[in-house]
């Protein structure tokens, strides 16, 4: 499955390099939601995330010759998105702050813990739990779960030892579970 995914991406990437618009639009349509989700969660602002999404794909386009074909295209794209996010915070000097009202806003959405959650509610709950994470934990979590980036690559992207990346992921999962429990979701059966 993963192998097919990679070969599909390679094929679209080759089309992209040859200047075939289907190559770019194919890869863009396939991965835009993942990359955009990552950028929205990291910046907390849709408009900024839209700008960064454009910058990410433009940077990928300009540096297409640097893509190492032994890696997955999505991992590479998430590496670029990570750099764009870092640049954004460096230049804008915007401080990422946790939204303190996340907990209060969500509590009222569930009437009973065993209530059947709609997809929309579940989405909101999970994302609110993700937003409460420390930015470094959140980034490792999103790189892994949205980007499917292996931990070895996450460590490289974030310039830290692999054990640090694993430790952050472990804490991220622990904190998400804790937050979900507060909101009435206790594990998945």
């Amino acid at each position: 499955m993963q192998q097919n995914q990679t070969s599909d991406d390679q094929h679209l990437f080759d089309l992209w390099l040859k200047g075939d618009p289907q190559g770019f639009s194919g890869l863009y349509d396939k991965y835009k939601n993942r990359v955009f989700g990552f950028l929205v969660r990291m910046t907390g602002d849709r408009e900024i995330a839209e700008d960064l999404l454009q910058e990410t794909f433009l940077a990928a386009l300009r540096n297409a010759d640097q893509f190492d074909r032994s890696r997955s295209f999505l991992s590479w794209l998430f590496g670029i998105a990570h750099k764009r996010t870092i640049d954004f915070f460096r230049h804008a000097k915007v401080e990422t702050e946790h939204k303190s009202d996340a907990e209060t806003a969500v509590g009222s959405k569930i009437d009973a813990p065993d209530q059947q959650l709609s997809d929309q509610n579940l989405r909101a709950l999970i994302n609110e739990a993700v937003e409460t994470l420390d930015p470094l934990q959140r980034e490792v979590f999103l790189l892994r779960e949205l980007g499917g980036v292996p931990f070895k690559e996450i460590a490289k992207i974030m310039d830290c030892p692999i054990n640090t990346a694993l430790g952050r992921m472990r804490l991220a999962l622990k904190n998400i579970r804790k937050e979900l429990k507060k909101r009435g979701i206790d594990g998945v059966q």
Partner: protein
């Protein structure tokens, strides 16, 4: 979790980053350790239900999609022929260009240095030649000055005899005889 060292191994096992040996070792551990197996199962269920693209992803607006596709299509057009070349070919072209430019620049400066050395030598030679010519010229000039002063003295003598002393009167003599 009691198997604290294995918490991270569960993550590496899930992401498929364990070697074959490590993988087999961990699988045999999970067969006897309920805690690790539960942790792995729980994480896998969370990934399937919670941590999916539908839940964590976001959909950009249609306008943004259009704009990005337009901008990226323009940028693609701007990428020149080099953009499609293999990396090793690009590197070769860049290094050759760098070498040629470097060669031209170094050659230009080397030639300039040589020329300036040559012109300095010429200047020294010219100066020496000029000095020697100048000395002989000076000697000639001195002779000429002496001759000139003799001729002036003669003229003065001529006019003073005929129209008075020019030095005392300050009158510009005009030779009316020849007019």
């Amino acid at each position: 979790m009691a198997c604290s060292n294995l918490e991270e191994t569960v993550l590496l096992y899930s992401s498929g980053e364990l070697s074959e040996k490590e993988k087999k070792s961990f699988e045999s551990h999970m067969s006897i350790c309920d805690e690790c197996r539960e942790e792995f199962d729980s994480y896998r269920r969370e990934q399937e239900r919670f941590f999916t693209c539908d839940v964590l992803g976001e959909v950009p607006s249609k306008d943004v999609d259009k704009e990005i596709l337009r901008v990226c299509s323009d940028a693609r057009k701007k990428v020149t022929g080099l953009g499609n070349m293999p990396v090793f070919l690009k590197k070769t072209i860049y290094s050759l260009t760098f070498f040629v430019v470097g060669f031209v620049v170094v050659g230009y400066f080397a030639m300039n240095t040589e020329q300036s050395k040559q012109s300095n030598l010429n200047v020294v030679l010219e100066n020496e030649l000029f000095d020697s010519t100048n000395n002989s010229q000076k000697q000639n000039d001195n002779t000429a000055i002496i001759n000139d002063s003799d001729s002036l003295n003669d003229t003065n003598r001529f006019f003073s005899k005929n129209r008075g002393n020019l030095d005392q009167n300050g009158v510009i003599p005009v030779d009316l005889k020849n007019k």
